[in-house]
């Protein structure tokens, strides 16, 4: 094996092992920052030794054993105790005697539990959303700071600083390394699911072109979601989130034309949807429902996505069912944006007049003030109803509200054609 090959193999091993390694080490040293440093040290040792000695038969165990030794050294070395405040330092020192012989067992069982504890720690509400995202990708996704920076289009230094600060915040807040229980679990799980879905959306909202790395972010989020359902197989909303991401991912090939032009859902070539991901999504959704989670917000969104996935042609879409699902979603997580989507579904199911009635109920909604999609949807429905001057005014208003140049152009075009008395073709 050449040195380059060995380095590539080490990268791959790191990607597979780093989260487990950091999780197991955090359990011992109770400091995620220190745990990551120890894991990194083990990686450096591998980079030194493996090119000469070859990649060990069980690389994960090798890294773990090496890191374990360093952990013990770290626990013994006073200098490292400076990282902690005095009291905790003493605690560790007194623990060390009993801790050393138990390390093997401590590390070997419940790796899954440790991973889950790490997930909850990285997504702890004491951290800002940005910090949660960065830390989750770094500690659980095995991404480098540089990869995270490129994915989120921010300077690497910003991400590095975010991660350093996040670890400090966790240490200062003495966030325990544990899976929350009872009522706390629900709220904390929301944060975990929210972080994963945010990562997914960051990738999913990117179109083609220069941003080739961002679709990879969808894959990272999906992988985190799939890992999470393995760790929490009885949490319906975890399955719901995975279902939603699998089904949305199934369309990624059909969402953009080679020239970069985005293709709307109803215009997509459904033959290009990934049937394997659709099947996996539908299975995950079924699992969420079997676990009694059909009214969870992610399960409901997945169920809406599933209505599209099941329709062979756009005109086969079961819009009445989508309206009902939006009803449930609006009940569960009231939001004017959900109401607006519901209004669109109503217009598809029952015609533009019914849709307009639903949209008009949202006109006084303060949260939608300045939201360009409200006048845009309203303009579309008015145009379909041949109320063209009103439609033109709405499109113009929508154009003045959007920040996206391409979209603004499109809206102004529609405003012009309505003003000229042209009824929409669809």
């Amino acid at each position: 094996m050449t040195a380059t090959n060995t380095h590539r193999a080490i990268d791959a091993v790191w990607r597979i092992e780093s989260a487990k390694l950091i999780a197991g080490l955090t359990r011992i040293v109770r400091d995620v920052g220190l745990a990551e440093d120890l894991a990194q040290d083990a990686l450096v040792a591998a980079l030194e030794k493996w090119p000469e000695q070859g990649v060990p038969a069980n690389p994960g165990a090798w890294l773990m054993a090496t890191a374990k030794h360093r952990a013990i050294d770290a626990l013994r070395r006073n200098s490292l105790l400076d990282r902690k405040h005095e009291q905790l330092g003493h605690e560790l020192e007194s623990k060390q005697e009993s801790a050393v012989p138990d390390l093997h067992e401590a590390l070997d069982d419940d790796i899954g539990d440790d991973l889950l504890r790490l997930v909850f720690m990285a997504c702890h509400p004491v951290l800002s959303t940005d910090a949660r995202v960065a830390l989750t990708l770094r500690l659980l996704g095995g991404l480098t700071t540089d990869e995270i920076a490129r994915a989120f289009l921010v300077p690497e230094a910003t991400v590095a600083q975010r991660i350093v600060r996040a670890k400090k915040t966790l240490a200062e807040a003495k966030v325990p390394f544990e899976v929350p229980r009872g009522d706390e679990l629900t709220a904390r799980l929301d944060s975990v699911l929210g972080v994963i879905y945010l990562i997914f959306n960051e990738g999913y909202s990117a179109t083609a072109g220069d941003d080739w790395l961002r679709p990879a972010l969808c894959d990272d989020a999906l992988r985190l979601g799939r890992i999470l359902v393995g760790l929490m197989p009885n949490e319906p909303e975890a399955h719901g989130l995975v279902a939603l991401m699998e089904i949305q991912s199934s369309r990624s090939r059909a969402r953009v034309l080679p020239n970069g032009e985005p293709v709307l859902l109803l215009e997509q070539d459904r033959a290009r949807w990934d049937q394997l991901l659709i099947r996996r999504g539908l299975t995950a959704l079924r699992r969420a429902e079997q676990l009694g989670g059909s009214s969870g917000p992610y399960a409901l969104q997945a169920a809406i996505a599933a209505c599209h996935a099941r329709a062979r042609r756009a005109e086969d879409t079961d819009w009445e069912r989508i309206v009902r699902l939006y009803d449930s979603l609006a009940q569960r997580t009231p939001s004017p944006v959900v109401d607006l989507n519901r209004a669109v579904a109503i217009s598809m199911a029952r015609g533009p007049a019914a849709g307009l009635t639903a949209v008009d109920r949202l006109l006084g909604e303060p949260k939608l003030k300045g939201y360009h999609l409200l006048p845009s949807v309203r303009g579309d429905l008015l145009a379909k109803l041949a109320r063209l001057p009103e439609a033109a005014a709405e499109f113009e208003r929508a154009a003045s509200l959007t920040r996206n140049a391409r979209e603004r152009e499109l809206l102004l075009e529609r405003a012009r054609s309505c003003a000229a008395g042209v009824r929409p073709t669809r």
Binding site: R226, I227, G230
Partner: protein, 148 residues
């Protein structure tokens, strides 16, 4: 990236001899590991080629040939689909697979084509569909501006 991991057949798999309980358990554990790591998208074991057929194409002719087929080592006994970050990661995972026969055996890893791999060279059918779609979208835009 998505890869297909192909387990090659051997004498036993072709003879329909089922794996030992020990191997089955090891494989089950391995599969669990793959699923828990979020890597495995799909995977199946295949019946011996004696239960399969081949459809032979020759111009417009189609002939059905019953199994079993010779060249055992070139046959497939099972496959997985993995979603991984790199081919190296797939290699790392495959190295961890229990030896599928316990003897000399081979597992092949083949990257699946991604849309980006095609570049401009889509299949003519896909290119045609996309051209039509692009035209439809352009036509709609033009209709709204031209008449404006």
């Amino acid at each position: 990236m998505r890869v297909m991991v192909i387990v090659k057949a051997n004498k036993d798999s072709e003879a329909g001899i089922l794996p030992s309980e020990e191997l089955l358990n090891a494989m089950t554990r391995y599969n669990e590991e793959l699923v828990n790591a979020g890597v495995m998208l799909a995977g199946e074991g295949l019946q011996p080629s004696s239960k399969g057929v081949r459809v032979q194409f020759s111009g417009s002719e189609r002939a059905v040939i019953d199994g079993p087929f010779a060249e055992t080592k070139e046959l497939i006994a099972g496959f997985w689909l993995f979603e991984v970050k790199s081919l190296d990661e797939a290699i790392e995972w495959v190295k961890r697979c229990p030896n599928p026969t316990g003897e000399e055996s081979q597992i092949e890893i083949r990257p699946v084509f991604e849309p980006a791999d095609f570049g401009e060279n889509y299949t003519p059918e896909i290119r045609e569909r996309e051209k039509r779609l692009a035209e439809q979208i352009a036509a709609r835009k033009q209709a709204s501006t031209a008449r404006a």
